[in-house]
């Protein structure tokens, strides 16, 4: 599941919870689901952050190299 899909699910849950005729059972079930989607979102963000850090290191290594070393 992508981050956007998970966020979409969370928004859907929010909309459902705003319905005036929501039952307590439904509310509990949706709450449980929302926690799962929140976890998915945060996990995806954390993993993206890690990937960015790796790419940044590669880029820094390239940019910091003196010009003479690049031409080969």
């Amino acid at each position: 599941m992508t981050f956007e899909e998970a966020i979409e699910k969370l928004s859907g849950i929010k909309d459902q919870l705003e319905r005036p005729d929501i039952t307590l059972d439904e509310s509990l079930k949706l709450y449980k689901e929302s926690v799962d989607y929140t976890k998915t979102c945060l996990d995806l963000l954390k993993s993206t952050d890690g990937k960015i850090a790796v790419i940044k290191n590669e880029l820094d290594a390239l940019v910091e190299k003196p010009l003479n070393d690049i031409d080969d």
């Binding site: 966020i7 919870l17 705003e18 929302s34 960015i52």
Partner: protein
């Protein structure tokens, strides 16, 4: 000494050989007054004389000769002795008015004529090549002029080719040789620039450089021509017709040959500059790259932060909604139970009301009871028995 006895033809041939062998007589000018002038068969026959002598002259092809009896002229040419007639003739190559005045006048007339034709026009001047590899020089192969030209050229550039077309630069035949030199160099592909050069001299000396034929040859030349004729103060038609006039032959060489050493230094400097600018550009690009990548990284981080905030806010909203729901349900329940409990009989009794029974039956109207009846009165915390002493019906 024994006297030789010759036939006439032997004698005349002998004389002719002596005259022909004398180089001095093959290119000489003589001046005198024209007399006995006549034209026959396209050739001009006349004598020139002074107070003491007369010389028989012939000019083959007299179409360009404009002299008449009485004129003082200078004839250029050579001596010819005719074996058959035993007569001596001066073969005229060129004849011109004698003296500076006449020459100068002719010079001015010719100059005016050729100017009108546009032969000296600035618009037709060709650019002198900046980097000539091979230079053709029309001048005398002996003398200081060619030495100076080569000396200057070698000093500036050891790799420039200097080709010399040896030419007479004064006297009979000079004009034709100068023209041939120009034509020769025009036929050679490798020639970039032509120099016509001669040292200083009198107007008469410079006469070949003031001829219409030479001017037309220069005009016709497809290669650019530099004229370095005479000294600074001398002006010739050759100067006017050429693409560039310089004061002396040395200057002609100076102008035609590019400075090799200067160019080498210039190229070295240029290379240094180019290297500097390339390095500077590379550095700029690198800085731009670094700042752009930093910006992208910053944007990424921001996007990540925003996403995190969005997630947490949604999560919080949901939590709030869930708890609000729960609270609503609890409130509803409380409200219901309080309503229910408010309806319990005990609750009514608590407020001081009583329930009356007679013979186990609940009494709810005065009509169901009479004075003297014994009833059970129920209170919240117990019961009492009572006797009815009076009654009043509100409805009646």
């Amino acid at each position: 000494m024994k006297t030789l006895s010759l036939t006439v033809v032997q004698f005349n041939t002998f004389v002719k050989n002596i005259l022909d062998a004398e180089e001095f007589l093959s290119n000489i000018s003589v001046f005198g007054e024209v007399t006995n002038f006549k034209i026959s068969g396209g050739n001009a026959y006349f004598d020139i004389k002074d107070e003491n002598a007369m010389l028989s002259c012939v000019k083959f092809g007299a179409y360009d000769l404009s002299i008449k009896n009485g004129d003082l002229i200078t004839v250029y040419g050579k001596v010819n002795f005719y074996v058959k007639s035993g007569r001596l003739n001066f073969i005229v190559a060129k004849a011109e008015a004698y003296g500076l005045g006449g020459l100068y006048q002719k010079f001015m007339e010719l100059k005016e004529k050729l100017t009108k034709e546009g032969l000296f026009s600035e618009e037709i001047k060709k650019q002198i090549p900046r980097f000539a590899k091979t230079i053709g020089v029309v001048t005398s192969e002996t003398g200081a002029v060619i030495r100076d030209i080569i000396h200057v050229a070698r000093g500036k550039n050891p790799f420039t080719n200097i080709i010399v077309y040896p030419s007479k630069v004064q006297g009979v035949g000079a004009e034709d040789e100068l023209v041939s030199g120009i034509e020769y160099f025009n036929q050679r592909e490798d020639i970039d620039t032509i120099i016509i050069a001669r040292g200083g001299g009198s107007l008469e000396d410079l006469a070949p450089f003031n001829t219409e034929k030479l001017v037309r040859a220069i005009y016709k030349s497809e290669k650019p021509i530099i004229s370095g004729v005479g000294h600074e103060t001398d002006f010739t038609l050759c100067d006017f017709a050429s693409d560039l006039r310089v004061p002396t032959p040395s200057v002609a060489s100076e102008v035609a040959v590019f400075d090799y050493f200067e160019q080498v230094n210039y190229i070295i400097e240029l290379t240094k500059n180019i290297t500097y600018f390339i390095e500077k550009n590379l550095l700029n690009l690198k800085e731009k790259l670094t700042s752009t990548s930093k910006q992208i990284m910053g944007d990424m981080k921001l996007k990540l932060k925003e996403s995190e905030t969005q997630t947490l806010m949604l999560c919080k909203d949901i939590e709030n909604l869930v708890f609000t729901n729960l609270k609503n349900k609890t409130n509803l329940f409380d409200k219901l139970t309080s309503v229910i409990s408010a309806k319990s009989p005990l609750e009514i009794l608590k407020s001081g009301y009583v329930a009356i029974e007679r013979d186990g039956k609940r009494i709810s109207s005065v009509d169901e009871i009479d004075i003297g009846n014994i009833v059970k009165v129920n209170l919240v915390d117990g019961e009492v028995t009572a006797k009815i002493e009076s009654k009043k019906n509100y409805k009646r």
